[in-house]
Amino acid sequence: MSHNEQHKEILLELRNVTKHFPGITACDAISLEIEQGEIYAILGENGAGKSTLASMIFGLYQPDEGQIFMRGKKVHIDSPNKAVALDIGMVHQHFKLISNYTVAQNIILGDEPKKRALGVFPYVDIKSAEDRIEQLSKDYGLEVDPRATISKIGVSTQQRVEILKMLYRDAELLIFDEPTAMLTPQEIESLLTVIDNLRSQGKTVIFITHKLDEVMQVCDRCAILAGGKLVDVSHIKDTSPAKMAAKMVGRDIEFSAKRPSKQIEETVLSVQNLRVEDSTGFPRVDDVSFEVRAGEIFAVAGVSGSGQVELADTIAGLVRPKRGKVMLKEQDLAKLNVRKHTESGIAYIPEDRQSVGLILDFALDQNLALRSYYQTPYCKTSLLNQKAFSDHADKLIADFDIRCARGAKTPVRGMSGGNQQKAIVGREIEQDADLLIFVQPTRGLDIGAIMSIRKRILDERDKGKAILLISLELDEVMDLADTIGVMYAGKMLEVAPATDLSMTKVGEYMMGVTAND
């Protein structure tokens, strides 16, 4: 993997590229130079702006400010078609393939080689396309059968099809958006070889990821983004995983609500050797054990898709575990249904507040009683008491400062995200459960709502509740946790008191780095 250090031609240059979304600056004056024939990593946490940046290069978004230069010429990439015309290709995180078409049909789609039978009737010349694809797959070591149907081939082969799609269109600059997210370790290994091959054939690659080891393995240079800003660009051979992790997460913590726990008492939740599988039998949670005690915030850190959400769903009873135990105090919950989980003392603020936590077409008062509507005072012998619903809603609206246009009868669909979340948090806290599970409780909220919800979490802890907090925001984990567990690929890599872990250390575990430096 030697990379010669002589002066190379700059293929792509970004100058002060900025992109705003409502309420957030996703990319803030980013300037990069990408050389012909290098593998350039863009590294950053969730929400650091990596995907937005790539989308601008590929023409899915237009920058609000700044310029893009391709081969020294200023370009205005206003659509993916334009990007393709400029020899830029992209492999998306979620593949864009038609599952009942063959590999070759997918590759030529939109750029079909046409011939005319008898000089008149146009038809698609699939034969020559297949030959060309076969040649390409040989040249680049991308083993694939052009006649296979997409639905019959595996994920990693589908990814090769996506790569071939770019090569078929003569792409020079190939963007990979988190290409290893859905692959097994062996598949990752072979993908990295393919990417290395691409470089030796003279292609240029932009590699977007949050996994440090992959960057170390193949990349030449690496740009680190944090909070939409470019933090650092370095040559891989001059840096170390620890340094990179520190830069990724090393920004100042802007809001701190930190209060140390007063008193940690008896174990409330005990998870033992838990294994949860998805419908294909792939383990999403793999042999996880930990305990959460009264008066403690146990925060689970990890990059998106490490199994945290499945873990929370299983503890709350929405998903049945394959193996292992979930004990709440002395009670084994594994055999119980969702309602029994709730009744035995689990409050759950789910990740997806709009389709799981709330029924958007229902009124606020109905949503605020969503978990207890069947009990007195809301329901007596099957009849609902409307007044109990609205009285209860009025109380929670006041207690939790839920802003709503028409009081208890406001349709939840019309409320802002922050107020929707306040409604869920209010409803769940009010249950007075022993264990509260918060999944991504502040995602997408404005600062006011974030602070109010974080304060609620700390208040509940101080009342002696056990809290399981799952968050993709490392800030939030560091800010609130008494104990931190880090998940990576379904496994709990590390559990330690928050005081023993630095942000950098947690960041390393999140990237799956276990070796001590």
């Binding site: 709350a316 929405l318 249904n337 969702v338 309602r339 709730t342 759950y348 789910p350 997806d352 389709s355 799981v356 936590g357 709330l358 029924i359 958007l360 077409d361 229902f362 109905q366 969503l370 978990r371 509507y373 069947y374 329901c379 099957s382 009849l383 609902l384 409307q386």
Partner: protein, 426 residues
């Protein structure tokens, strides 16, 4: 002039060409200006019209009333144009239908008939339509599309005729029993669809269309084997005691059989309305219908709720079956699925999928079909025109969802415009 003379002929020609193209450009600009003016005027007109529409139909609280009314009004306008083109008076068509259905008096009546008997026969044909629509509404609340009302009608009509209609039970027992047997048979047929969805994840539309055919053909086989009336080629009719029409009651000059099911159907609309809005089970059904994931999170058992909703829906379908086969028509005809089972879906939509809306919608559609023949004889157009009106109403109703979304969209964009203006001013 001197300047010009200095120019070579070549340059002069160029100058001239330039002038010509300049003129052409000016003319084009003028045309464009006129077009722009026209566009602006059109924009303003559409804006005013849209604002008017929003004012009239934009209030969400009244939309479930105003939009169906708009649909009905539009279809009446459309049919008027059609009738005018046929060379007749639309007014005669409408009064003909109303008179035929018994809402307004006819100039003369045949022996043993009066406006009252017309109204009674309207209520007889309205009853199964209303039950069918209620069945559809109940399933829709739980997010299920019960297109199997026709099959549930067949099962219930067959079971009630065989079990009660061929017995010697006295009327006082037989008639309530027919309703009960019909409801139970329909409920079982409906629950089967719910069970197939819950247990095997078979979409209810697929299974109910299949079951419609299975039910009608199994019933037809049994009818032809055991219960065929060889004169009418229908199923043997149920005894008069079991039919859901009372003994003739004398009203002055005329006598009429009253429908037993009519008041039950009206009462059922109100009961279902209360059930859906005021009970725990109704709440759970709506929750499952609106968001299955959230319902699961709330601790609601999705499968049993779906089976229950389909059973309740099927029970209504069953009541539609017995009030159709044991009151509305003489007996079941083998091999024919009742079209009424499908019409009731349209009725449910016209009634904005609400139990009380179903009463109004069923009344309207039954009026159109019940008054059609008389209208055909007095208005000088064929009675099929009434079916065309029904079709148009349903067509325009189907556009109601679009209109609602469109109004919502426009309202929001206008609100945004206002906000923007407000923002600029501040």
């Amino acid at each position: 002039m001197t300047k010009q003379s200095k120019m070579s002929p070549e340059e002069q020609r160029l100058e001239k060409l330039q002038e010509q193209s300049e003129q052409k450009r000016r003319r084009r600009d003028k045309d464009r200006n006129v077009l722009q003016e026209l566009n602006r005027a059109l924009d303003a007109a559409t804006r005013t019209l849209t604002k008017g529409l929003i004012r009239g139909f934009g209030n969400e609280r009244w939309q479930s009333l105003t939009i169906p009314l708009l649909a009905i009004a539009l279809s009446l306008v459309a049919i008027s144009i059609l009738v005018l083109m046929l060379g007749s008076n639309p007014l005669n068509v409408f009064t003909g239908i109303l008179a035929g259905a018994g809402w307004i008096p006819k100039p003369s009546y045949g022996g043993g008939q009066s406006q009252l008997t017309d109204l009674i026969s309207l209520s007889i044909s309205l009853t199964p339509l209303l039950f069918g629509a209620l069945g559809f509404v109940v399933a829709m609340r739980a997010g299920l599309f019960n297109i199997g009302i026709a099959g549930q009608m067949v099962v219930a009509g067959f079971a009630a005729t065989v079990l009660v209609g061929y017995s010697d039970l006295p009327a006082l027992i037989a008639r309530p029993l027919v309703l009960v047997v019909g409801a139970i048979a329909g409920a079982l047929a409906g629950a089967l669809i719910g069970f197939l969805k819950h247990r095997f994840n078979i979409h209810e539309v697929v299974s109910s269309i299949m079951l419609n055919n299975i039910f009608i053909h199994v019933a037809s086989y049994l009818i032809k084997a055991n219960h065929l009336n060889h004169a009418s080629r229908n199923m043997n009719a149920a005894s008069a005691e079991a039919r859901l029409l009372t003994e003739p009651v004398q009203f002055g000059e005329v006598a009429a059989r009253l429908p037993v099911g009519f008041l039950v159907a009206i009462a059922m609309s109100f009961i279902l309305w209360l059930f859906l809005t005021k009970t725990k089970q109704g709440f759970e059904m709506s929750a499952v219908g609106k968001s299955p994931k959230a319902a699961q999170y709330a601790g609601i058992k999705i499968g049993p709720t779906i089976v229950f909703a389909m059973a309740l829906s099927g029970a209504m379908g069953g009541l539609a079956g017995v009030t159709h086969y044991l009151a509305n028509v003489p007996a079941m005809t083998p091999d024919v699925l009742p079209a009424l089972g499908f019409d009731s879906i349209a009725v449910a939509f016209l009634g904005v999928v609400h139990p009380l809306g179903a009463i109004l919608a069923a009344t309207l559609i039954a009026t159109l079909s019940s008054g059609a023949v008389y209208m055909g004889s007095v208005a000088g157009v064929r009675h099929e025109v009434a079916s065309v009106i029904t079709g148009l109403i349903l067509l325009f109703t189907a556009c109601g969802g679009f209109l609602r979304a469109w109004l919502d969209n426009k309202k929001r964009s206008f609100a945004d415009d206002e906000n923007l203006k407000g923002g600029d001013a501040s």
